[in-house]
Symmetry: C2
């Protein structure tokens, strides 16, 4: 299991995933698509990555807007695993 | 577009979809699975139905728990389209 990151580590890592916002102990990314099914395709891609990493974001679908929230519940905060997952999800959207 | 249903109509229709809770102006169903990917498969099935009906529920995924919220935003309440969608989604889980 990854270790809890401290504030300085988080400040450094967040710069590598600029599409994500830090909200409390979570990384949050809102992805907006033109159509509902594009959002669903994105969720399917996220799911595949999440399952592979055994690290699963919270996913909210509001028509064509998908919000992802990533944290490590086991340590009640952010770890390398969260930033790794965020980076891999970003690759889906590049 | 479907017409807004009155309270009596809603009371009758909700009996046909007993897995759904009435929460304010929404129908809500929480579907719990054993594994994350089962929930994702369910969401894919819901998406197909929703796209066909051109009526899209809010979908929240929390690991293997999927929460659906159905309402008709255009009339700010529940319509036949909501109960039709709920019933069709239930067929996925029977």
């Amino acid at each position: 299991m990854s270790d809890l990151l401290n504030e300085d580590e988080i400040k450094t890592l967040i710069k590598k995933v600029p599409e994500w916002e830090l909200e409390g102990k979570e990384l949050v990314r809102v992805a907006e698509f033109d159509e509902f099914m594009e959002g669903i395709d994105f969720v399917d891609g996220v799911a595949e990555i999440a399952e592979e990493a055994n690290h699963h974001p919270d996913i909210d679908i509001r028509y064509a807007t998908v919000t992802l929230r990533v944290t490590t519940h086991e340590v009640n905060g952010l770890t390398d695993a969260d930033f790794d997952l965020a980076g891999r999800i970003d690759n889906l959207l590049d």
